[in-house]
């Protein structure tokens, strides 16, 4: 993919959270939550961002919708020929940005205001961006309710979130994200709070709507099995870095980074006949507080060698067919 085709292009994205800052005292150390990410997302594809808790995947998502300020780096997004630099949004660009980029959150119990009706929740982007009059908004919201499978819409329009089940709430959240026809939607673990039988229908709904409405997704999840179904490409994050990236099946079938391998072999398999290869790495993920300049995975890596300790974190390299790996030892 050349850079001009990409819908989203992230260059050297960083987010540092200051620690122990006080009154009139500069912080002395930082959590490197996101530490130099480079990736691009083509229109119509779905990039899965996977990693354990603390890997920086959710922070990345929040940076891309500007829920957090970007410490350094660039995020370029291109909509209808207009290129936005998300880290430095001008007032005029800001409007386009809010229309084109939306987010679906993890917890459908937290992401809907309990005191607002389903109509007010879904119409919120229309209301705050002054799109259409009240009747237009009602019709648009009803259309969306139909689209996400909550029909007939008139029975849902003026209910409150507590009258709906978890799955229905997540459908409402999806409708809210899609109501202004966004081009790029960041989905932060939208199914992790849902039960299996409901999860699949939400996954399929998101896929169908993505194709139908031409939405590009960044799908954030800790669950590799879900990522397999929800993304065309996969990026594996570890301590604020992407360690491996490539076509989903390619990464899952032929993982190269020792961390990806470990992650894959640790996923429980719903088949008692299956014997998994044992996980080779030990310990848990730590916090990336002022990391020393060496491979971030050094402490836990079964392949760790001197080269990994002496050099900074390895760059992502193409190992053929756009399968990128950040490791000195593969």
């Amino acid at each position: 993919m050349t850079s001009s085709e990409a819908l989203v292009r992230v260059e050297g994205l960083r987010k540092l959270f200051p620690l122990n800052a006080g009154f009139l005292r500069a912080p002395t150390s930082f959590i490197h939550a996101v530490d130099g990410l480079d990736f691009a997302i083509a229109p119509g594809e779905s990039l899965g961002l996977v990693g354990e808790s603390g890997s920086g995947k959710t922070t990345t998502g929040k940076l891309l919708v500007r829920l957090l300020d970007i410490t350094a780096g660039h995020v370029f997004m291109q909509f209808d020929g207009q290129v936005l630099d998300v880290a430095r949004l001008q007032r005029s660009d800001s409007k386009t940005f809010r229309r084109k980029v939306q987010m679906i959150f993890q917890d459908p119990y937290e992401s809907l205001n309990p005191r607002r009706t389903i109509f007010d929740t879904i119409a919120e982007p229309l209301q705050v961006q002054n799109i259409g009059n009240v009747l237009d908004q009602q019709e648009r919201v009803a259309e969306l309710l139909n689209l996400v499978g909550l029909s007939p819409p008139s029975t849902y329009l003026f209910r409150f979130p507590h009258e709906l089940s978890g799955g229905q709430r997540q459908r409402v959240a999806i409708a809210r994200a899609l109501v202004i026809n966004p081009a790029f939607v960041i989905a932060d673990e939208p199914t992790s709070m849902l039960d299996v039988s409901i999860r699949t229908s939400i996954m399929q709904l998101m896929q169908n709507l993505g194709t139908q409405l031409g939405v590009t997704y960044l799908y954030i999840t800790h669950d590799l099995a879900v990522a397999r179904y929800m993304s065309t490409r996969l990026a594996v994050m570890y301590l604020g870095k992407i360690v491996e990236m490539g076509a989903t099946e390619e990464v899952l079938q032929r993982p190269q980074h020792p961390y990806t391998k470990a992650l894959l072999s640790a996923v429980p398999v719903p088949d008692p006949r299956w014997t998994r290869t044992p996980v080779e790495i030990k310990g848990g993920i730590s916090k990336p507080i002022d990391p020393v300049p060496r491979c971030r995975f050094y402490d836990r890596c079964p392949l760790a060698a001197k080269v990994c300790e002496d050099n900074d974190h390895p760059p992502l390299e193409d190992k053929g067919s756009e399968h990128y790996v950040a490791c000195y030892r593969v």
Partner: protein
């Protein structure tokens, strides 16, 4: 058991709706009712549900009954004065009944609660004062929650120097002994009822109420729906007005009740010391009793019991209603 896989019937399950277009029927259903009427209905529904929850609590109902009883007294007074009672005899401030002398006269058929040392009807005084107590309490409470809610929401949402400034101010106000301050103010200026309501409203509004409402606002600020509103393109004001304040309102309403209690209590103390410029009030009734030397005289109980009991009862009533509302607002306090 069959070895080959059968056609899976679950494949036909439809996850999505029937399409983007609305049928005519739905469209008409939407247009049938204007939005404001729907909202009004929803509001009524919410209030009705909360009322049902409230009525489950005996304590709250007792409180409400006491409040209604006193509200009835306040409303009945002008009617009685206009139609039944002779103003020359029954006026709470300048009335005098020469036939009932010597004053204070004990309860009788003419004066159900007797007369005070100046020959005025105690029941009339009691009823007349009730209105002022209510007005004082309500005005003070409204000022308190208006200040408390806006400052609390702003301090929580923006943080930074706004937060620091108002929280330090709150610390200062909390450390001031309110009653002592009011007594000093009463000595320096002529305190009347509106001014007293304002002072109590400000003291309470910039003090503890703000701190409590701010801490609640902080828990709302970090909710995901606030993030969602931001992503939707909502401004700071949209988020504060549409998400944070509506979720603060129940708590706000609760603190209104507690402020009413504080205000009535403060009035009683100030009037008792004779520091309040007011025609008649429960505190003033006790003040009159005291200055005429009847305060600890149990033979003349009708002078001290009606105002004293009223202060206690009405304060308690608002407190009880507040407690009951607390259970409506915080489901965790409710019994299953």
């Amino acid at each position: 058991m069959a070895t080959e896989e059968r056609h899976n019937p679950f494949a036909t399950a439809q996850p999505a709706g029937d399409g983007t277009t609305l049928d005519q029927q739905e469209r008409e259903r939407l247009r049938a009712q204007p939005l404001w009427r729907v909202r009004l209905k929803l509001l009524a529904g919410t209030l009705w549900n909360n009322w049902k929850l409230f009525t489950e609590n005996k304590i709250g109902l007792i409180g409400l009954a006491i409040i209604l009883f006193y509200a009835g007294l306040a409303l009945a007074h002008p009617l009685l004065m206009g139609r039944v009672w002779d103003p020359l005899i029954y006026d709470p401030v300048i009335g005098f009944d020469p036939l009932a002398a010597p004053h204070p006269a004990p309860p009788s058929a003419q004066h159900w609660l007797g007369t005070d040392p100046l020959g005025r009807d105690v029941l009339s005084q009691l009823m007349f004062s009730t209105a002022s107590e209510f007005i004082l309490g309500m005005v003070a409470a409204l000022i308190t929650v208006t200040i408390g809610t806006s400052i609390g929401a702003l301090a929580a949402y923006f943080g930074g120097w706004i937060d620091t400034f108002f929280m330090r101010l709150a610390d200062l106000v909390i450390t001031l002994p309110a009653i002592v301050l009011l007594i000093v103010l009463g000595g320096l200026f002529t305190l009347d009822l509106p001014l007293l309501a304002l002072v109590i409203g400000i003291l309470s509004g910039f003090g503890a109420t703000t701190v409590i409402i701010k801490s609640q606002a902080l828990t709302i600020k970090v909710r995901t729906y606030v993030e969602a509103a931001w992503v939707a393109g909502g401004s700071h004001w949209h988020i504060i007005l549409r998400h944070i304040i509506p979720n603060l309102l129940p708590l706000t309403f609760l603190y209104m009740m507690f402020t009413v209690t504080d205000a009535i209590f403060a009035e009683a103390i100030l009037s008792y010391f004779g520091l309040l410029n007011i025609r008649m009030s429960w505190g003033l009734m006790i003040h009159t009793t005291q200055s005429a030397g009847y305060l600890l005289n149990f033979q003349t109980w009708w002078l001290i019991v009606p105002p004293g009991l009223s202060i206690t009862l009405l304060c308690a009533a608002f407190y009880l209603v507040g407690r009951a509302l607390d259970e409506v607002v915080n489901p965790r306090l409710r019994k299953r």
